[in-house]
Symmetry: C2
């Protein structure tokens, strides 16, 4: 497996693969891999001839008061893990490679990037879409894999790829959870023992809403309240938002008709955790 | 020559060419061709195996009080002209093809798109960069040709293509002028006889500045004033801006060191005309 910080090396390698008729899968990440990330790589390896994993902690998607500086980094271990899974290249660009001197271009997705996490983290999704446009331009993959935990990111990236005719198949990977249901996140390691214990109530609350739905409840306010009342059992958790939205457009939904994404953001101390569950009528 | 409004047909044709190893040149236009446009097509034909010309009057780059509705259209004549020059395909998409239902993505170039025409026409360049990103995605050309009359557009597009690693060679075509020096523009046909007569003072003013420079003047304020004083001979013309900028960054320059773009926008009645001249030290 090749590990390189050189943009030109990556684009040359990928161009050679394309010329040989090999399909290229891509997993853009910020490193600090947990099993969620590794599942993305597994999916990419299973569905592409060659797989590029990028590890880049993108300053543009962090707010001024966020955890850019303390965001976990573990390059050596990360590379070892994805090599074992069959990735072909790890791309570890420096910030001044991704954003060279004079870089001025931004890509945004209006509307659907503005609610939920977009409202809580102004500019975050502009940073995500811009860095993905850059990385997609360098790698030119046939497909790219994104996790469903970041459901809004997935919808925003899909919209950008479709609108700008990037011709990349965006594959959604299911959320991977800890033994107690907590969604895997690089930020889980920030949690104190007590916060970690209570954090499982996030996924339990989502499951509660799903149970209600399966019992016939279709009113989204009732489903949201089911989540909120479960969170009352976890005094260290503070809900930032709980919303029911269309998973493609991120527009609010008040009645389950086909499918609804129940998406939440919760603070455990200073640590912000997100999770979601897709609620859908069986056809 | 093929004329089509189908996005899929265009992208299929271009994909076939690429698979055959043929290079694709692209000339994105709004139609109503004059010799300036035709020179762009000539350059593309001379430097590519196949040439796609798009004709799309892009609503997104017009302001609410601008001339979108009366912008000249002449599809049949346009197609005939570029066929004679050797273009392979003319792409004439409808607005709902370029911007399908739910389209939400924008591409912008911060800084360099905000002065000059960008200050006079808020949102204009965001419309230009977004539509070019879409059209580049559909066509995937090896090179694209843009006219130097729209010098700021050229700089902005170059920046976007470089920042987003689009891998397209952006070729600049020299300004084509009428017999009296007036830069060719689809908007020249809006001019009254009297306005048309005086419009030649724009290029004469630019030439005056160049003459002064060749006589040794390096102070940009003096060069700008040379233009302005020439315009006093044309009472129907009202200067919107006259600026001296770096042609790559569009940042203001006050002393000619290597090269400076003297760029102007002038109203003749309601018709807005732009022109520019590159002032550079011979090496």
């Amino acid at each position: 497996m090749i590990v390189t910080d050189s943009e030109h090396r990556i684009s040359d390698i990928c161009a050679e693969w394309r010329a040989e008729g090999l399909s290229v899968g891509f997993v853009p990440t910020m490193g600090a891999f947990h099993r969620g990330h590794l599942s993305l790589v597994e999916i990419a390896v299973a569905s592409s001839d060659r797989v590029v994993v990028s590890i880049f902690v993108n300053p543009m998607q962090f707010g001024p008061d966020e955890d850019l500086d303390r965001y976990p980094r573990n390059l050596e271990k990360d590379c070892k893990s994805v090599e074992e899974l069959g990735a072909s290249v790890v791309f570890t660009p420096r910030t001044d490679v991704v954003y060279p001197d004079g870089f001025s271009t931004g890509v945004y997705v209006a509307g659907m990037s503005e609610g939920l996490c977009g409202a809580a983290r102004p500019g975050h999704f502009d940073g995500v879409t811009t860095v993905c446009a850059v990385l997609f331009g360098i790698v030119r993959p046939d497909l790219a894999v994104f996790g469903m935990k970041d459901a809004q990111q997935l919808a925003v990236i899909r919209r950008m790829v479709s609108d700008l005719r990037m011709g990349i198949d965006i594959v959604a990977a299911p959320i991977v959870r800890e033994f107690d249901g907590l969604a895997m996140s690089s930020r889980n390691q920030y949690l104190s023992v007590e916060e970690r214990e209570q954090a499982c109530f996030i996924s339990i609350g989502l499951e509660m809403a799903l149970v209600l739905f399966r019992m016939g409840e279709r009113n989204c306010e009732v489903l949201r309240n089911a989540f909120l009342s479960k969170l009352e059992d976890a005094p260290l958790l503070k809900v930032q938002y709980v919303e029911t939205v269309d998973p493609d457009t991120m527009l609010g939904v008040e009645q389950v008709e086909k499918q609804v994404l129940l998406a939440v953001a919760v603070f455990a101390g200073k640590t912000r955790l997100i999770d979601n569950i897709l609620i859908e009528l069986e056809v």
